[in-house]
Every structure is written in C-alpha cells, then in structure tokens.
Symmetry: C2
Subunit: 229 residues, 2 copies
C-alpha cells in the first residue's frame, strides 16, 4: 500500500524540521513547499534544501512570492530588525508579515487538492510566538473550516486537516522532540538577520528564542553565531 | 482626502470588469491583481491589461502561480474542456481549479494588509456558477472570518471586508449593470478554449453562459467567435 501523502511547509527552521520528522514518524510521504518571498534570511532556503536531502523528500517545490506583496521588517531592507528583546505576550512583533501563513497554507491547500493529499503540516507554535495572529490554534481552526467550505474535497469528500503538532510546545520541548527523532539541527536556520556568510546574529527575536530553547532543553546548540555573540 | 483603497481580483472577464466598475462607482481607488496560472485562456491576461487601461487603474500586478500547483482541465492541456453543455446545479464542473479563489484571495489579503486596504473585491457569482464551492456566499463568509482571525488588521483593527457585489446576480443582470456603468465588454474575455487568434470557441461552459447572458440582457454580444459559431 502506498503511504498516505501530506503537504508540509518547510521553511528551513527548527520548527518545520521537527514537524517533518513527526510527520514521517506518523508514516506520511511528504511533499514539501518552501517560499521565497524576499525575506532577509534567504539563507533559510538553503537550509530547507539541506533538510529535503536529510529527510529524503522526493517532491519539493520552491515558490516565489513576487516582491511587494508582503511588506514588513522581514522583507524591507530599510526597516531595522528588532534586537536584544524577546517579544511580549500578545504583542504583534514588527517582524509580522501580512497574511503570510494564510498565503502559504492556501498554496499548500491548492497543491494538496491537486495531488490528493488531505493532511497539511505546518510547524507553527503558539507558545513562543503568541504575538503572531496566524500562529494561533483558533486561526488554524478557522482556516480548516474555510478550506472545507471552499473546496471540492471539503464539499464532496472527507475534507482537509491542518496539522499543527507543535502548537502547544515550547521551543525547548520542540528541540527535545526533534532530538529524540534524530533531527540534525545544524542544518536548520533561525536568524532574521544573518551576516553575508550566513552566520546568525545571535540577537534578533528568532536567535534569542533559539538560544533559550537549546539551553532549556539541555541540548548543545549547533548554531554558528557571528564571533563574540 | 485620499480615496479609500481597495484590492480587486481582475481576471479579464465580464464579472471582474463589472465588479471594477461598481467599486469605482463606490469611490474606491483600485489596486488590481491578475493571476497567470497556466490557464489555457492566457489571452484573458491581455483582456485584464486592456481593462486596467480602460479603468485607469494605477497599480496592477500580474502574479505567476508556478506550473503544477493547480491541476485541472483548465490548466492541463491533455484534458478536454467540456463542450456544448451548461453545468448542472450543484455539480462541480471539470473546470474546477483546486482552491483557486482561496489562493487568489489570500494574495489579495496579503497585499491589502501591506498597503492598508481593507476592502477586497471579487466578481464571484453563485448564480451561474453554483457548482464551484469557492463561488458561494458561505465560502466568502468563512474566508472573511478566517482573515479577521489570522491577521494583525483583523485582531487589532477594523478588519477586512470581502466584497462580492455580483454574488446574487445572474449573468444577464451583471451585463445590464455593467452596461449602465458603460463597461466596454468588447475588452473582456470568457472562453476557456480560444483558438490561436484568441477567438472564442462559442461552445465551452463559459461561452455558453456569456452568450445566454447577453441574449437575456437584451444587449448585443460584442464577442468575436470562431467562424460559424
């Protein structure tokens, strides 16, 4: 019997890598989508490619989102990435990208229905990113409901499932889970503001959350940070 | 005072042309998105460009959806476009494209939030296309609800409005409304299967609905059909 297909959003970070490992452990054959959207950390696409090899994913598409669709501190070189602060609870960070997960999940949904996959995996977590409206459980529920009203599969068939296995996990728990599944986190990338060699800044929101995660997990951080960070 | 911005999905057909005229009549400054997704009727993109000039829309983006994301009779040259039949009520036509309006509206939403536009216009009608799950009022309601849960504007601000002014109009009523607003329908395109010169086949679902619409509206059809059709 063919394994059941699933579509996964693979960004190249810790969360999507761990989600891929969980989906594979559940027995799904993965079809991965990675988005290039003018993010400063384009280097994460290289990490996504490394993870595709690591997990032996046979179907991987890199999808370009045209410049100018998204405008935020993550895509606008003239806006500074916030440094040396962890975002507060319920505060929407400057690095919020308008409707990003909505657009990414919509692509995943269109592709899933085209290839008859019914499970969509996304490595969102509401714990460390509570400020992003599109990382909350209630958003994923609303997306799934909308998807099952607006598609043939939802109307005629069994419907789609938005799978968010990390949603209630802290970064340290995610890292412990991934380590237990032998994920090679040295292949992953988190920094919003890497230097030209791809070394992490060690000070942006994403680096701070990553460092704290490895520390709390009691697992050595394999990340190469810029010297002295 | 600057006019309020709106984002409109402009395909180049009768419905989106009429929707543009209605939105302009309401006083919105339009920002238009047109999608190129390997549809057989790529000529509709030329119609969209003509409509952009006709309506003097200053901001227009053509967005490529990579080949292989959507699979349907509309994008797959090896599958025949159904001819000489009007689709039945509640039947999902072969020309259904997986999650198309979901993906298009998600792009519109991301762009709208980026430019601080809160109204998204789409020329969907549930009357002549009752078979498409993503052309129904309940789908647009679910999309709007999801958008207002999953975005900063929805959580912090006044939210987004999915505007479907044609939703309860038959094609003949749409054409009468557009004619009253002086829309030049000779610029629009409907055919799913035009010949290499761009002439409409006169027999696909979309041509049949268009012909019937002009006939019932009592307005001459300016379409150039292939000879003898």
């Amino acid at each position: 019997m063919e394994p059941e297909k699933a579509v996964i959003l693979l960004s190249g970070g810790i969360d999507s890598a761990t989600t891929a490992a969980i989906a594979i452990e559940k027995g799904f054959a993965l079809h991965a989508l990675t988005f290039s959207y003018g993010q400063r950390h384009g280097i994460e696409i290289r990490s996504a490619l490394s993870l595709v090899r690591f997990f032996r994913i046979k179907d991987h598409k890199i999808i370009d989102i045209p410049a100018g669709v998204f405008r935020s501190a993550l895509t606008d070189a003239s806006r500074a990435v916030p440094k040396n602060r962890l975002p507060g609870i319920n505060e929407i960070p400057d690095t919020y990208v308008p409707a990003r997960n909505i657009l990414f999940l919509s692509y995943a949904l269109a592709y899933a229905e085209s290839i008859a996959a019914y499970h969509l995996f996304i490595g969102a977590t509401a714990v460390d990113y509570s400020g992003y409206p599109d990382c909350r459980q209630e958003f994923f529920k609303a997306f799934q409901a909308m998807a099952n009203i607006g598609t043939k599969t939802g109307v005629d068939g069994g419907g789609f499932f938005i799978e968010t296995p990390l949603i209630n996990m802290a970064k340290s728990q995610i890292i412990q889970k991934g380590a237990s599944l032998r994920v090679d986190y040295s292949l992953t990338h988190s920094c919003y503001d890497p230097d030209p060699d791809g070394l992490a800044c060690g000070a942006c929101d994403s680096c701070l959350i990553r460092k704290k995660g490895f520390l709390e997990a009691g697992i050595p951080d394999p990340t190469k940070y810029q010297s002295g960070k």
